[in-house]
């Protein structure tokens, strides 16, 4: 048996091993929408925090007992404020990221357009230096021919 045949005999083992390894993987589905979800979470957390602060204020103002006011202060004030800050941070992070990405895309697009224009101009210049009629000149000549009686 040749070396190559021997290798072929070994192949199914490697493929079986590979298949077994892959089957063990916990292949997670795409999380491209994670960004979108975090942005929405930010939008929800900001007003939710403010509502909690308001509830805390209403609860604390309804009683003069300090021991009753403390829970309102903690759940309404601290937790509510925390929600608002976290929500604002998430919103800023992901909305700003989106804006900067579009801005970058716009720059790339403009760079491509400028490069195309420069190539076009260089080609026309090259044609003129070589004494060939440029596309524009050829089109003008064609038009002239058509209108000539």
């Amino acid at each position: 048996m040749s070396e190559r045949d021997g290798r072929r005999d070994e192949e199914p083992d490697r493929l079986d091993e590979f298949q077994a390894e892959l089957a063990r993987l916990r292949a997670r589905r795409s999380t491209s929408s994670t960004e979108q979800r975090l942005l929405v979470a930010g939008v929800v957390l900001m007003p939710l925090g403010l509502v909690l602060v308001l509830i805390g204020y209403l609860g604390a103002s309804g009683t003069t007992e300090l021991s009753s006011q403390v829970p309102y202060l903690i759940s309404g004030g601290v937790f509510g404020l925390g929600c608002t800050i976290v929500g604002a941070a998430l919103f800023l992070r992901y909305s700003l990221g989106r804006y900067l990405r579009f801005w970058l895309l716009r720059l790339i697009y403009e760079e491509h357009t400028t490069a195309d224009r420069q190539v076009d101009a260089l080609e026309r210049l090259g044609d003129r230096l070589a004494g060939r009629p440029t596309e524009r000149a050829a089109a003008a000549a064609d038009r002239q021919k058509e209108t000539r009686p």
């Binding site: 490697r14 892959l22 063990r24 993987l25 589905r29 999380t31 491209s32």
Partner: protein, 239 residues
């Protein structure tokens, strides 16, 4: 006599879409690499070839479509898990540790279970010039030698799937031919190879199948002999 059924693909991409954030680069590509075959993914600069490879190796999460390996859906699997399972990626621009010596790099390649001695034996058998420079820092090797060292990782670690990105980048044609000849020997061991390359001439000689990627879409696919005539048009933007 009826033709034998084509072997089931070890790597299969179906309607794969991927990109960076909201910018989609791959617009639903289909590709299959069977066991023991080398498929070349060709295309002009910016076509999405590296993104396709990054999606297959788990570095970029697909937004839609599936990636199947040996019949198992691995869409969204992490790159380290895929590497442990047997997917070897050789990235563009030399996949070596520049501040480690050749010997130390080879030692790093033995993490997957192969003995360091076996890795060194395989490396020096395929590329004898590396043995002469075994105590030299990888970053001080020539571009070709660095790429040889990177290819040693695939040669010595029994991968099931090999992903190669722009092996020819910055190298002379003789070195590139030598590297591709060594890579081709892996198909005899049943490795499924997906090769990304901008310079089509190198790939047409060694590939079993070729696919042309333009603007994130597969424009044409087939045997290298059939594709040679179509490439020029695809690269220059003809539809």
């Amino acid at each position: 006599m009826p033709e034998p059924a084509p072997p089931s693909p070890v790597l299969e991409l179906r309607a794969l879409r991927a990109g960076y954030g909201r910018i989609e680069v791959l617009h639903g590509i289909d590709l299959a690499v069977a066991r023991g075959t080398l498929v070349g993914l060709l295309g002009p600069n910016g076509a999405g070839k590296t993104t396709a490879l990054a999606a297959v190796s788990g570095q970029v999460r697909p937004t839609a479509g599936t990636i199947r390996m040996a019949g198992v859906d691995v869409t969204g699997a992490s790159p380290d898990a895929l590497a442990r399972a047997g997917v070897c990626t050789i990235p563009e621009g030399r996949g070596v540790f520049p501040n480690l010596t050749v010997d130390e790099n080879l030692l790093m390649f033995s993490h997957g279970g192969a003995s360091a001695r076996h890795v060194a034996d395989v490396a020096f058998t395929h590329f004898p010039q590396l043995e002469l420079r075994r105590r030299v820092l990888a970053g001080l090797l020539s571009g070709g030698e660095q790429q040889m060292l990177a290819v040693c990782r695939a040669l010595s670690t029994r991968p099931a799937v090999l992903l190669l990105d722009e092996l020819s980048m910055g190298l002379g044609p003789i070195v590139v031919e030598e590297l591709y000849a060594q890579v081709k020997t892996l198909t005899e061991r049943g490795v499924a190879i997906l090769l990304v390359e901008q310079f089509a001439a190198f790939v047409l000689d060694v590939a079993d199948q070729v696919a042309v990627l333009v603007n994130g879409e597969i424009r044409a696919a087939g045997r290298p002999a059939e594709m040679a005539g179509l490439l020029q048009g695809a690269y220059l933007g003809a539809r």
